[in-house]
């Protein structure tokens, strides 16, 4: 029993790291552009599908950690230039929500046309096992967790230490003043959108060897990421990791004992309960 629970919790922690990374992308985009990026799930799926093709054509999944974000960046730039720049600042959430919903339609249908509807898998790039709680556990999953945490760290460093990061933070606080100080605000918006999208695509590329890849695999994770962002309190990175952990660990714990689908519902209910008690964010007092 204890091994089942332990393994489930480790697995949940791995997923928590990935969800935290994907959620950070959502936070970036919402915090800066006021867009609840429903298309985030589709971007996640595109990341995974790109990883599938990279593994298929280049023979190694590893390149996808570079190629998936790159392709996503190109797509994000196209999206931004073709539609988002028309309706961003000062528009209500409903409007931007619909735009990203339309984008989700387009992206998902494009991937369906290219990739097809059947779920596919790629082979594990790190086919090693380690012993955990008397059972074996995939080394790759642990690598995925560490990689996500490293990406979050790199993002923090980027936001905190570089000039572009400073621009992003300044625009986030007050875009008028930032503009007056010479920050190219439209460029910063685009940069933020691209960064957020890249995080989704990286998440997709990372989970590609762990799950089956479908064109609509992002439908549920986008809701997870969204509730994690809200419970965390916007922009709080420790809060994001903590709330991703709560969501994922409670899901993992309950799914040992009850139907996994119901466990998913219960873990979301716990998140709603936290949000109800602490609407200003889990880490803020």
């Amino acid at each position: 029993m204890i091994d089942a629970i332990g393994l489930s919790l480790v697995n949940a922690a791995v997923w928590a790291c990935i969800i935290a990374m994907v959620s950070l992308g959502l936070t970036l985009i919402y915090g800066q552009l006021n867009i609840i990026n429903i298309a985030h799930g589709a971007m996640y799926a595109i990341g995974a599908i790109t990883a599938f093709y990279v593994a298929d054509f280049l023979g190694s999944w590893t390149y996808s950690l570079l190629i998936s974000p790159l392709i996503m960046a190109i797509i994000a730039i196209i999206i931004y230039i073709s539609s988002l720049r028309f309706r961003i600042v000062g528009y209500p959430v409903a409007v931007t929500l619909i735009i990203s919903y339309g984008l989700m339609f387009i992206l998902e249908q494009l991937t369906l046309l290219i990739f097809g509807g059947a779920p596919r898998n790629i082979s594990n790039p790190l086919p090693y096992q380690i012993g955990l709680f008397g059972r074996t556990y995939s080394v790759y999953r642990i690598f995925a967790a560490i990689f996500s945490l490293a990406t979050i760290g790199a993002l923090l460093a980027f936001l905190g230490k570089t000039k572009l990061g400073l621009w992003i933070r300044a625009t986030n606080q007050d875009h008028d003043t930032a503009s007056a100080m010479g920050v190219p605000v439209p460029f910063v918006y685009m940069l933020t959108y691209v960064l957020g999208s890249i995080l989704a695509a990286l998440g997709g590329a990372l989970v590609a060897p762990m799950t089956s890849i479908t064109h609509n695999m992002g439908h549920e994770i986008v809701i997870d990421a969204f509730i994690v962002v809200i419970v965390a309190g916007f922009g709080s990175i420790p809060g994001t990791i903590l709330s991703a952990l709560i969501l994922s660990l409670s899901n993992g714990l309950f799914s040992v004992f009850i139907n996994p689908v119901l466990a998913k519902g219960i873990s979301l209910a716990i998140m709603v309960g936290i949000l109800y008690r602490r609407p200003e964010g889990i880490m803020r007092y």
Binding site: S83, F105, I223, F226, I230, K264
Partner: protein
Amino acid sequence: MESNKKGYKLPLLLGVFSLLIIVPNFLSPFYKQLLIEILVFGLFSLGFDIIFGFTGLLNFGTSVFFGLGGYSVLLPILHWNMGVWAALLIMIIVCSLFSLVYGFLISRFKSHYFVAFTIVVSMIFFYIAMANRPITGADEGLTFKVPPLNFGFFSLSFNNTMVKYYFVLAICSIVFFLVWKFFRTPYGKAIIAVRENEDRAKMLGYSTTNLKVVSFTLSGVVSGVAGALYVLHLGFSSAHSFFWLWTARSVWWTITGGVGTLIGAFVGPGVLVFFEDLISTWNPDLYLIIMGVIMILVIILAPQGIVGSIQTLFTKRGR
């Protein structure tokens, strides 16, 4: 609201209404089905329009009521052999009680917190429905035989599409009329005041919490009726009626039709479902892409929606 609009609004409504009564008799069965769906989706969008367009709360979880309405009409019919009217009564009681409690719980939330709360609650219901296969049928759903409509002296079978159509049309018209009247009463106008400026409405002595809860309940019941009609129309319901994509569709329909116009809630699905059918028979692969492009274009070029744009055109002034 403005008196100068009343001049053309009422004759127009009556004209459309009489067309809706007469024209379907001459349509092929397929288009009759499509019209029924449009009316049901219009009612669902109306539920969203009440809470978003008139109260200013972006409820991104109206699919809860859609699914709940569907199941609370399906389960009594299936298990207790109830008639349609009794099941509808149960549905209305269930939906109004649920949305009353739900509304009280979340009335203090605003903007994105409200969005998050409602969307996640709808997902919780989705997972619960998915997990309880014996009760809800999960993703395969439950099929049932719709009992005939009993009018006391005679009864009409739902197998006749025209009966179904007139039944749906009658309920949609009654609900639409009631909602339309409601927002003309002082209480309804107070709800609109909450949308315009919540603090000011509070300063004027209104209990904005109560107003929001009433509007939330109304919206929930209307969405629930739409869900019930949809289930009665299909003779089928699955856990997917709780999924957030349903809400997203109603949001899109409402925004395309025109937010805060009531009639726009029916115009949106009227245009879009028809258009969807047109494109999907032309090219099923591309149709979602085209719909996505249209969605974005509508937001960028005509954010007021179809009805809103026409109104601006007629009154020659922006909002």
